[in-house]
């Protein structure tokens, strides 16, 4: 009992009282207190308030967030609007000067900070999710599972993180562009032989029409095709290329031809919309699929449609950010997993866990109701320190040109632009100093708040 009493209040009371209803847990302090009982969170907040520096930094962060969210509309400038006023130093017109295209740097910085902060927060969130789950399972399960899970962490640790992130991000980009592209690939032919024979011999108007549109050389190859099963790969690739070329043509199908095809509902809808631009390719692909339903596979599934509609809006910035979230989360969860695992490992052996096990609590309940709440402090502290490191990593990636692509900007890519403008002939210092200052002060504030929280929440830290 005295052992359990050392733990955070509600936890100690609950395990101490055993079968007592949970509503009473908070109302019974573990030890007689001379002053009114405060919950652990209230006590922590009291102590945090006394750390004036951390408090100031917290307020600064809030101010930055508010300005970044609501400031840009107040500016007379738009982030992408170019002007003739190139490389203006900071002045009343442009508080932070202008860049190579005469764009106002302040507005671009605010938009950039939006992206940097968002990536930092969500990336830290991703690392929190994976890290806590991984670490707590490893620590709680122990034994063979523990060593298996943690060996994997060790191995990931010993890969250079930059290579890991680059490959991960480009892989995700590749998968998405493959999914969202209406282009034909060899794997889309369900019956390449049948398709080739149809284009060679069939007298139906669609095949005849397509045949006339094929290139001279391909028609020759087609005529020479002997119906071999399966057709030679170069021939298939040529067919895919020919059809791909045709997909771009707005006049590929006309009303008379479409009438002969049995259309799916979504094809009909799209046909009636008379789309333009990129959508024509998709429409032609759908029509082609409907014209040869047993020979060309349906490229679109509900999954690809869902993924592409959610993640490929007009700007494209969201897609890149999604990859950044995943990529950065994927490298930064390792430390979190190690920390959580260590904590869980030591808590698992404590008496209050034994007590609740004796009372018949399930593993899930023990882990999530009894162990993890005791790790929260450490997790929160580490999380506030993860955010700046993710922001830093994101700006590093954008500096490499991997993260946010122009004309979108993040603080990192703005700094990279500024760094590129330093040469012995003229120094455009504001392009480096302004975004650098915003980044550095934000990181500084996050670190101070994290330090303040650690003093309050981390049981290992003294005072």
């Amino acid at each position: 009992m005295s052992e359990a009493g050392k733990h955070r209040g509600s936890q100690a009371a609950r395990t101490g009282n055993g079968a007592a209803p949970e509503t009473r847990a908070n109302s019974q302090p573990a030890a007689p207190a001379p002053r009114p009982f405060l919950s652990p969170n209230q006590r922590a907040w009291r102590r945090f308030r006394q750390n004036r520096l951390a408090l100031i930094c917290g307020v600064y962060l809030l101010v930055v967030v508010v300005i970044v969210l609501f400031g840009p509309p107040l500016s007379p400038y738009r982030p992408l609007a170019t002007s003739d006023a190139q490389f203006q130093p900071p002045a009343w017109d442009h508080w932070c000067g202008t860049d190579v295209h005469g764009r106002d740097l302040l507005v671009r910085m605010l938009y950039g900070a939006r992206i940097s902060l968002l990536v930092g927060l969500v990336g830290a969130g991703v690392s929190l999710g994976i890290g806590v789950l991984w670490g707590s399972v490893a620590g709680y399960a122990g034994g063979r599972w523990d060593s298996l899970l943690m060996r994997l962490v060790d191995i990931l640790y010993s890969l250079p993180s930059i290579i890991f992130v680059i490959v991960l991000i480009t892989t995700l980009e590749g998968v998405l562009s493959k999914w969202s592209s209406p282009r034909l690939e060899l794997s889309d032919f369900r019956d390449a032989a049948g398709l080739l024979v149809a284009f060679r011999d069939s007298q139906d108007p669609i095949s005849q029409d397509l045949r006339t549109r094929f290139s001279e050389s391909f028609r020759k190859d087609l005529a020479a095709y002997d119906g071999a099963q399966p057709p030679a790969e170069p021939l298939q690739r040529d067919l895919a290329q020919e059809l791909d070329r045709l997909l771009d043509r707005p006049d590929l199908f006309d009303d008379a031809l479409v009438k002969r095809i049995q259309l799916r509902a979504k094809t009909r809808r799209l046909w009636q919309q008379k789309p333009e631009g990129q959508a024509i390719v998709r429409l032609n692909r759908l029509l082609l699929e409907d014209a040869y339903p047993s020979r060309i596979a349906r490229g679109e599934t509900w999954l690809t449609v869902a993924v592409t509609t959610v993640f490929t809006p007009k700007s494209g910035a969201t897609t890149e950010m999604l990859f950044l979230f995943v990529g950065l989360g994927a490298v930064s969860w390792l430390t979190m997993a190690r920390i959580v695992r260590g904590q869980v490992l030591s808590l698992r052996a404590r008496q209050f866990v034994e007590a609740s096990r004796a009372l018949g609590a399930t593993h899930l309940r023990i882990l999530f109701r009894h162990i993890l709440p005791n790790v929260t402090g450490v997790i929160i502290v580490y999380l506030t320190l993860t955010v700046p490191s993710v922001v830093l990593y994101e700006s590093f990636l954008s500096y490499l040109g991997l993260g946010i692509k122009p004309p979108q900007a993040s603080l990192g890519s703005l700094i990279a632009e500024g760094a590129a403008e330093i040469n012995p002939i003229r120094i455009y210092w504001w392009m480096l100093v302004c975004p650098g200052l915003l980044l550095a002060t934000t990181l500084l504030a996050f670190n101070f708040v994290g330090d303040g929280l650690r003093d309050v929440l981390d049981p290992r830290s003294d005072k």
Binding site: S158, L159, P160, I163, G174, Y399, G418, I427, L432, D462
Partner: protein, 304 residues
């Protein structure tokens, strides 16, 4: 015994890592023979694939790679086709290692005294100033401080050369740009370790025995207080020795760090796997060294 077993397991671990890296780099779309924006034409790709055995099944390719590796051959670079990976590493690594070692020395030389001093004068003004400096260093990444240093000291006042690698003078700015962040990290770790140690009962005992202030701090406290720094220094050294993209790029230094980034962007498969192995081997060995030094520094640490 513990260390012997880990030493035996080390090549095994490297084998697993090489296998994972080998598969992992092939996940990314495109290939090493693609041009800037267009994929390589099918004929060229077929020929090059055949030349570098990329058309074989993956298992056989990996086996071939291992066989080469056993002879100390990392294979040919797929992007820089006149060079082998060994060549590139042999050219770039010494430069990166020199710069990395300098930056490591700078980080330790600045970080440890700073952390030590701030912890000893805890709560007084030297602590506040020193801690703020350390935190500032942590919050101003190399890609900000590097260009700033160039702007002020190289372009404006012309104290140091702007870029390139050669004389000791050339090394000053890159060393500071690379090492400053880590100096801040180390100062923070050192301060924390020192504060924890100074609160321990054995320090009180040492003082009670009448040891001088300096002897307590240097002989008794420092040994334990430096432990967090030691465990951080292992991976850090591995990181620094294998080069930094930002600093090498900024100062036009012909090191290996640039290849870390470019090889994975270029899908230069052999190069990536070679660099991963290099880094992993360094890291694993250094971690072993860290754990060894742990048992020297802290008599309470026992490995089984």
């Amino acid at each position: 015994m513990h260390f012997l077993r880990r030493l035996v397991f080390l090549p095994l671990l490297l084998l697993v890592i090489s296998f994972l890296a080998f598969l992992f780099v092939r996940l990314a779309p495109g290939g090493p023979f693609d041009r800037d924006r267009a994929p390589a034409s099918p004929e060229i790709k077929r020929h090059l694939d055949a030349k570098f055995h990329l058309d074989e099944p993956l298992g056989r390719q990996y086996w071939r790679y291992l066989a080469d590796l056993a002879r100390g051959d990392f294979g040919p670079s797929l992007k820089y086709r006149n060079h082998s990976v060994n060549d590139i590493i042999k050219q770039g690594l010494p430069v990166s290692m020199t710069l990395g070692a300098l930056a490591f020395g700078f980080a330790l030389g600045v970080g440890i005294p700073l952390g030590f001093a701030t912890a000893v004068r805890r709560g007084e003004w030297p602590d506040h100033v020193g801690s703020l400096l350390a935190l500032l260093a942590v919050c101003v990444p190399g890609f900000i401080i590097g260009p700033l240093l160039v702007m002020a000291l190289a372009v404006q006042w012309r104290v140091f050369p702007v870029a390139l690698w050669g004389s000791p003078l050339h090394a000053v700015l890159p060393t500071v740009a690379l090492g400053l962040y880590f100096a801040g990290r180390i100062a923070r770790l050192m301060r924390e370790g020192m504060s924890h140690t100074l609160a321990e009962p054995f320090i009180t005992t040492a003082r009670a025995k009448g040891l001088s202030h300096t002897a307590v701090l240097l002989k008794h406290a420092f040994r334990l207080a430096v432990l967090p720094v030691v465990s951080y220094a292992g991976p850090l050294l591995a990181d620094l020795l294998t080069g930094s993209f930002v600093v090498e790029n900024l100062f036009q230094i012909p090191g290996i760090g640039v290849f870390m980034v470019n090889s994975s962007l270029n899908r230069d498969y052999t190069m990536v796997v070679g660099l991963v192995l290099l880094y992993a081997a360094l890291l694993l060995v250094l971690n072993l060294v860290v754990d060894l030094s742990y048992s020297f520094l802290d008599p309470r640490v026992k490995y089984e």
